[in-house]
């Protein structure tokens, strides 16, 4: 359909506003990270930097950024793997088998994923204290898995629901056990859903702040969000380093998002629309 001139103008300005509004603020941080200390402190603020990487070096070396990155990678990666590993059989069972209270479990899981961290923070801290899990990465991973399982199960259940039952019935006729069916047939077919669930879990664990703040107090153990939130220069607010750290903390996610755009969008919206 041909658009009227007015419509085209509106569309173009819409596109322009959307893109610039989304990117521009973050771009500002990127520019800041490339400046020199003097440029950052200049008043009025300078826009363009003379490109140099001093802040990155300083953030990585003097401010523990490398350990933050490492810790975040381990925590997010493990949370994702464990969560998906546990969610797959659970989602499959919930979808295919007539379990008692199935609706209750699914609904309950969904509600649980909306709990405010504050409600469970205190007792979780105590549990971890009891098992010596404070200030450890695995001690953080445990509550993360529990917090990401509901959404992972939900997304996987949605995908499983869509798969034709005939394939499984054929497998059963061929003599496969439930587990074999799940592993050899269902999972490959539902891989888009698995990807979506994995990516969303990873992003959640990478960005989580509240529990990380409570459980990790040793800077060598802290994850990126805690490190960036508590970023303290000894002398002045180290905005340059904060910007550099922020860029490095976000790059992996941006890469993930760009690579798996379609999967993420379909996962988010499919899950929502299908309800």
């Amino acid at each position: 359909m041909k658009k009227s001139f007015a419509e085209q103008v509106i569309l173009t300005s819409g596109i322009f506003l959307t893109v610039s509004g989304s990117l521009f603020p973050f771009l500002w941080f990127v520019l800041t990270s490339l400046k020199t200390q003097l440029e950052v402190e200049s008043i009025p603020p300078i826009f363009w930097p003379t490109v140099n990487f001093a802040f990155y070096r300083s953030a990585l070396v003097d401010h523990h950024l490398s350990s933050y990155l490492f810790n975040s990678l381990i925590v997010a990666g493990s949370t994702t793997m464990i969560s998906i590993f546990l969610a797959l059989p659970a989602a499959y069972a919930l979808v295919r088998f007539a379990l008692r209270g199935k609706e209750l479990i699914l609904g309950g899981l969904l509600t649980i994923s909306m709990f405010p961290p504050l409600v469970i923070a205190g007792p979780v801290w105590q549990i971890l204290e009891g098992i010596n899990g404070l200030n450890t990465l695995w001690g953080l991973i445990l509550p993360y898995v529990s917090l990401t399982l509901p959404l992972a199960i939900w997304i996987l259940a949605t995908f499983f629901k869509d798969l034709p039952v005939e394939l499984e019935e054929a497998a059963r006729i061929d003599g496969c056990t439930t587990r074999q069916t799940l592993v050899t047939i269902m999972i490959p077919l539902a891989s888009p859903g698995i990807f979506t669930a994995a990516i969303l879990t990873f992003i959640y664990a990478w960005n989580e702040f509240f529990f990380a703040l409570l459980i990790l107090t040793d800077p060598m153990r802290q994850t990126l969000p805690v490190g960036i939130a508590l970023f303290q220069g000894e002398f002045t607010m180290p905005w340059g380093e904060i910007a550099a750290a922020s860029v490095l903390a976000t790059l992996p996610l941006i890469l993930l998002v760009l690579l798996f755009q379609r999967g993420i969008i379909s996962g988010l919206s499919a899950g929502a629309v299908k309800g």
Partner: protein
């Protein structure tokens, strides 16, 4: 097969919740142990209702939820409409829009805090240019500090809402638009009478997700303002955090957590009820 997952969730989510519930019925001051931990029934809750500070925290939170959700729905709709149109480079725009969503909230908080910095901030540069003596400390005034928190959240989450609405847009059949065009409806009329009504379920879902999420806001406040100035940005979860962890008022802090939790549960039940039935109806048809 479900057991391992359920086990995790029970241990780390259900059990702590129950424990917090129980704690909220006791008076516990970590710093005053000889007062013991007496059971006080609903006293913590009545304190909560009558306390100016918690009342303000609730108001701030509700205000935040309302403002941010409204703004995100409107902006999200705009984003969805833009991305829905076929044009060259649409994938790029889609990717661009996802970036604020992907950024860790803590990073976004530092980013906006820096933008509104009174000395080095981009906001001052844009508004006042070189007149540095006119630069405003945006985060020093209660109203603007609050609005900036809302702004940061809106920037970060509008794209998520946009995606949800986009999915809703994509299932509206093209023939409805064609029929409307044939009837002579203008673009605006098509929007009002075809798009909006059919978008309602998606709107409700976005509303559900965003409202519940907005109640849990914490990171933004922690990094940008620490609740100030004058408690103007002290949202309920931050207030609970300070009370529970810094002041050691375990009983009262638990009551705060439980109140937030109950509000969220009621909200979700309410939404799920009203949306759930609609969705079920749609699926059946």
């Amino acid at each position: 097969m479900v057991i391992p997952a359920l086990l995790f969730v029970s241990v780390f989510t259900l059990y702590p919740t129950i424990r917090t519930f129980l704690l909220s019925f006791h008076q516990i001051f970590l710093a005053l142990p000889s007062l013991g931990q007496p059971f006080v029934g609903l006293e913590n809750y009545s304190l909560l209702f009558n306390d100016h500070v918690s009342q303000q925290a609730f108001l701030v939170t509700v205000g935040f939820v309302l403002l941010s959700t409204m703004a995100e729905l409107i902006l999200g709709l705009g984003i969805a409409l833009v991305i829905h149109e076929p044009f060259k480079g649409r994938a790029g725009v889609r990717a661009a829009v996802l970036i604020p969503w992907a950024i860790p909230t803590v990073v976004a908080s530092q980013l906006w805090r820096f933008i509104f910095n009174d000395q080095y901030g981009l906001a001052n540069l844009i508004v006042f240019g070189n007149h540095i003596s006119q630069y405003i400390p945006w985060l020093a005034f209660p109203q603007s500090a609050f609005l900036i928190i809302v702004l940061a959240d809106v920037w970060k989450t509008s794209s998520f809402v946009g995606l949800l609405l986009l999915a809703g847009l994509q299932i509206i059949p093209e023939d409805l638009y064609d029929a409307a065009r044939i009837d002579g409806a203008s673009a605006w009329q098509r929007f009002r009478h075809v798009t909006l009504p059919l978008l309602k379920p998606a709107f409700l879902i976005a509303l559900l997700f965003r409202t519940i999420d907005a109640f849990r806001v914490f990171d933004l406040v922690f990094v940008m303002t620490q609740g100030g100035p004058g408690d103007a940005t002290q949202v309920i979860q931050f207030y609970g955090y300070k009370t529970f962890f810094t002041e050691g008022r375990i009983g009262y802090g638990s009551a705060i957590s439980v109140s937030v939790f109950l509000m969220i549960v009621f909200l979700s039940l309410f939404y799920i009820r009203s949306i759930g039935s609609k969705l079920l109806a749609r699926e059946q048809s």
